[in-house]
């Protein structure tokens, strides 16, 4: 076989599985180290979801209902790349988020903030040949959670990425630049310093649309391939 394998992340780029300040982790994290798996076809292949039919409005979360949702309209765009800066073309990108008031359209969310009948909060798109993707949405609100006294999640958008392989599958969250709540958020801070900053989108004045919407840029970097083919 000549299939390429994927590089292992170096230390300090992902959170540990157990991060005690995020109180759900001790009860839900393995205590034993993961068994390192050499890459076979099972790991270097993965769902590309090319047959998935995306309807044209799935990347515009402001036009999925009868009327426009309340809140600040924003553009969130970027590229899906690998560690070598190469585009990950045609990657399926999924997002979900709460509304402008900080409430998810989800039966489990009991936060005392209004639901917006015009905002569902889910979007999908497929990156183009250069890895580029673009969503139109509204800026999500901060919301309280019960992790500790007076705990608030900074505004964030959840991202799900498949990339080219089972090995590249990843879920993450995008934050807004310089949000003062980041300093108090154990989920953000579970990522080591020096890497966590990559989860903040950049305010992107050049991509704003005058009289219409501000823009944020969030590039996503997935694992790169090893240069040498496996035996």
């Amino acid at each position: 076989m000549n299939e390429e394998t994927y590089r292992r992340p170096s230390a300090g780029q992902h959170p540990p599985n157990r991060f005690d300040a995020y109180k759900s982790t001790p009860g839900r994290s393995p205590g034993k180290p993961a068994v390192v798996l050499p890459h076979s076809l099972s790991e270097i292949t993965g769902p590309l979801l090319q047959a998935e039919r995306l309807d044209g409005l799935e990347n515009d979360l402001t036009r999925q209902r009868m009327a426009e949702p309340l809140g600040e309209r924003i553009i969130v765009h970027g590229r899906v790349l690998d560690e070598d800066g190469r585009a990950v073309p045609n990657a399926l990108v999924e997002i979900w988020q709460c509304n402008a008031a900080g409430r998810y359209h989800h039966p489990g969310d009991q936060h005392d903030a209004p639901l917006d009948p015009n905002f569902y909060g889910g979007g999908r798109t497929r990156a183009d040949a250069e890895g580029g993707y673009r969503f139109v949405t509204i800026k999500p609100g901060a919301y309280p959670w019960k992790n500790h006294h007076n705990a608030w999640r900074p505004a964030h958008i959840h991202f799900s990425l498949f990339g080219p392989a089972f090995a590249t599958r990843q879920i993450t969250q995008m934050y807004f630049p310089n949000d003062p709540l980041l300093a108090f958020d154990p989920i953000y801070k579970s990522v080591p310093e020096g890497a966590r900053e990559r989860l903040q989108a950049a305010f992107d004045m050049d991509s704003t649309q005058p009289e219409w919407a501000l823009a944020y840029r969030f590039d996503i970097v997935l694992r790169g391939r090893n240069a040498t083919p496996m035996e």
Partner: protein
Amino acid sequence: MSRGLTPSQTVGPFYWGTLVKTCHAELAPPGVAGERIALALSLHDVEGAIVPDGVLEIWQANSHGRYNHPDDRRNLPLDEGFEGFGRAGTDAKGVARFATVKPGRVPWPAGGLQAAHVNVSVFARGVLNRLATRLYFDGDAGLADDPVLNLVEPARRSTLIARRDGDGVWHLPIHLGGPKETVFFDV
């Protein structure tokens, strides 16, 4: 140019939105070749309690042992309508169910075949990184020689092996930690 990886974050508890649109609990439409199987994967925390807000994904070869992916360049048949990807949330009993076909065996880079297996990704609130594991089938040919199972200490191999109940459903409990901790792989 080297770029820093985007760090992982938890799926959180409120993933209904987009993720359900890409849910595929039934992987094999009529006409797909192979033995029809039902999988029931239950998710448990370190104390053994069920996890009712998880998301499980599976990725598998078809019954011929072929992955529907351009990097699997072997001359084996692909089945129309079968990608090999499934996603389901765990229910109030902590169980995610899939209907699929039994995967064929796929090769190992150093030679030989792996035993039939399904690749599994686990996501949940409180799980900061995707946890990867595998599902093997009890009683299968090739389990004893499987190169991946042989990387695992013998006492823990059973955490990867699904067992069939009286109704023919394959059950695999996935324990995130604790005394029955599942073997997770650094893929």
